[in-house]
């Protein structure tokens, strides 16, 4: 069905395409098949662009033995199908995704489990916007496809895909909620499972470590489930819901947005310093909540005390009292502080 859809640049057979195909001379049918495609498909340019992009993505991954054997299998089987090289590239992209996942799934140390949830390489903005157990939330991958299918991504059967996606998003959300529930259970009961609240250290503190170990094992299992769901979702979309061309187009867009978000977030994060908090605000919190000072105390007494404290602080801060400029600045700041207190008290 996708054959008739793309009616764009018919007859524009670019050199890049030849280049692409010359990389895979495994099959003798290639040229013949190409010819067929050229006839039926029309807009081959889109396809070529796609396969090129996908190939670029695929080439970034380290080649692993498993992949090679898979490729050989494909070389034998796939020439019969239309768009086999896209299939192959999609497969490779999925493999890449899977490998990334499985590498992260096997941490060496217990403390790396925390890194699975908040990977060092993932900026916090990315985690906040799309994160779920350290990577993209599966329903968001679907949601993104859903949005794209409505706006920019031309898919073969929008109505059908829309229906399937809505249904699938609902199902995936339920699965997510189940996994979230498991995690919440661990987070809620850790206060009982970890022995700190009871102050019971075994010999050499082995006992706490053992319970920490078993909790982290559980957490790791939940993370693995989450990662499996993520991978399964992507696989399902690419292999079952979308046809080959749409799947390739989607993967390219998805990779672009992943990359775009990552770069944006990393750049933002680099520009910002550490998390800070206003000292004045902190002081007023400690006064308000720790009862260091009653909020209804009159401004006058605060005034006196502030001055007294101020003089003491001044001694530590400035070398001499004769330093006129420093003292002036100090008084200025004191006045600001007082003014703020006055307005606050008035509000109360």
């Amino acid at each position: 069905m996708e054959l008739n859809r793309r009616s764009g640049g018919e007859g524009k057979i670019t050199k890049t395409r030849e280049r692409n195909h010359s990389k895979k001379v495994a099959s003798e049918d290639t040229e013949e098949r190409l010819e067929m495609r050229r006839e039926f498909e029309g807009g081959t340019e889109d396809m070529d662009e796609l396969s090129q992009k996908l190939q670029c993505m695929a080439f970034r991954t380290p080649k692993i033995g498993k992949n090679v054997s898979r490729r050989q299998v494909h070389d034998m089987e796939e020439p019969l199908k239309e768009g086999w090289e896209l299939d192959f590239l999609i497969e490779e992209e999925l493999d890449r995704f899977h490998n990334c996942n499985s590498r992260a799934m096997n941490p060496a140390r217990l403390s790396d489990v925390a890194k699975m949830l908040m990977p060092d390489s993932t900026p916090t903005i990315e985690l906040a916007c799309v994160g779920w157990f350290g990577d993209w939330r599966p329903s968001l991958i679907l949601g993104f496809l859903h949005g794209l299918a409505r706006s920019s991504l031309p898919v073969s059967d929008p109505g059908q895909i829309e229906r399937t996606l809505t249904q699938l998003i609902r199902e995936v959300r339920i699965e997510e909620a189940v996994i979230d529930g498991e995690m919440a259970e661990i987070q809620a009961t850790c206060v009982l499972r970890l022995p700190f609240a009871r102050q019971s250290k075994g010999p050499d503190g082995v006992f706490p470590l053992r319970s920490v170990y078993s909790e982290f094992k559980k957490i790791k299992q939940v993370i693995n489930k989450a990662q499996q769901l993520r991978f399964r979702t992507l696989e399902l979309v690419v292999q079952k819901i979308l046809d080959t061309t749409d799947a390739a187009a989607f993967l390219v867009e998805f990779e672009k947005i992943r990359h775009g978000l990552h770069c944006f977030a990393a750049e933002q994060e680099q520009r910002k310093g550490p998390v800070t908090v206003s000292t004045r605000g902190l002081r007023s919190i400690s006064e308000r909540e720790c009862g260091n000072e009653s909020p209804h105390r009159s401004v006058k007494s605060i005034d006196k005390r502030l001055l007294k404290n101020g003089r003491r602080d001044c001694k530590g801060r400035y070398q001499t009292h004769e330093d006129g400029t420093a003292l002036a600045r100090f008084i200025e700041e004191l006045q600001c502080e007082l003014q703020e207190r006055c307005t606050r008290n008035r509000k109360m």
Partner: protein, 278 residues
């Protein structure tokens, strides 16, 4: 001391420093104070005042931490992502964080675990409850009877208040979580929407992502603020639902838990502990 004087006029300070200081005060001053007040054996009114002062101080200390988190989040929303993944938390704490801090369920779970009912056959089956009683026996000896029996057969009123608190938390937490999920879903919707208009231009794409991310952080900031408000109100509710001895034991356990998660000795072992352990 000198440092704090020097910081007096600084407009802002690092949150990590604040947290270190806050934790230090909890571990070195407030928790020992509370323990002392719980163990002082006489039941005169002066020790009772001392105990309630210690409880008040520790409770306020916890409250002030959540207020500080909210202050940091509301001062500028671009701090929010890092407040959700706080770098000042160690790898032992991170997996237990829910929207940037301890799960609100922890408070109610802990509260529930303190109750000792005579006719409660089910609870003695629970392994952790058994351990709890067994281990506590040693270090609780020497405490006045009011403390030792504080959680034995609590009054109906206390129990029903506890149930109310639990119900409240169970209603609020899923709602918060749903709001966070909705914000994330909106993010992808916005990006997908803008993606078409960007039509492959890198600048426009980045702008689209930036805009959507800003909106999402803004929304998540509201969720974060409410999560901390929930934690604060649960703590305050627990304080008001319990008597002074019950509250003291609860806060002691909570503070010990917080301190235990940052125990340097354990942390050192934890960092080197392989995942595959015999």
């Amino acid at each position: 001391m000198h440092k704090s004087a020097a910081n007096l006029f600084k407009k802002t300070r690092r949150f990590a420093d604040f947290h270190a200081e806050w934790f230090d005060a909890l571990e070195r001053a407030l928790l020992p104070l509370l323990r002392d007040s719980l163990s002082s054996s006489s039941s005169s009114s002066s020790t009772s005042t001392q105990l309630s002062a210690a409880i008040h101080a520790l409770h306020c200390h916890l409250q002030s931490y959540y207020s500080a988190l909210n202050l940091a989040a509301s001062s500028s929303s671009d701090q929010l992502p890092r407040l959700l993944c706080p770098p000042w938390r160690n790898p032992l704490e991170t997996p237990f964080l829910f929207l940037g801090d301890l799960h609100p369920y922890i408070f109610t779970t802990l509260l529930r675990s303190l109750i000792e009912n005579d006719d409660d056959g089910d609870d003695s089956d629970d392994e952790s409850a058994g351990v709890f009683l067994e281990d506590d026996r040693n270090h609780l000896l020497g405490r006045p009877w009011q403390v030792l029996t504080a959680w034995k057969n609590p009054s109906k009123h206390t129990l029903s208040r506890m149930e109310q608190i639990e119900c409240g938390v169970r209603l609020m937490v899923p709602a918060l979580w749903d709001r966070a999920k909705v914000e994330q879903a909106r993010f992808t919707d916005r990006v997908a929407d803008q993606w078409a208009k960007a039509s492959g231009e890198k600048k426009k794409e980045t702008a689209a992502v930036g805009k959507a991310a800003a909106a999402a952080t803004q929304g998540l900031a509201g969720v974060f603020l409410d999560a901390n408000r929930l934690r604060k109100s649960v703590l305050a509710d627990i304080m008001s639902a319990t008597n002074v001895y019950q509250a003291g034991l609860f806060l002691e356990a909570l503070a010990q838990f917080l301190v235990g998660l940052r125990d340097p000795e354990l942390l050192e072992k934890f960092r080197h502990c392989p995942v595959k352990m015999r």
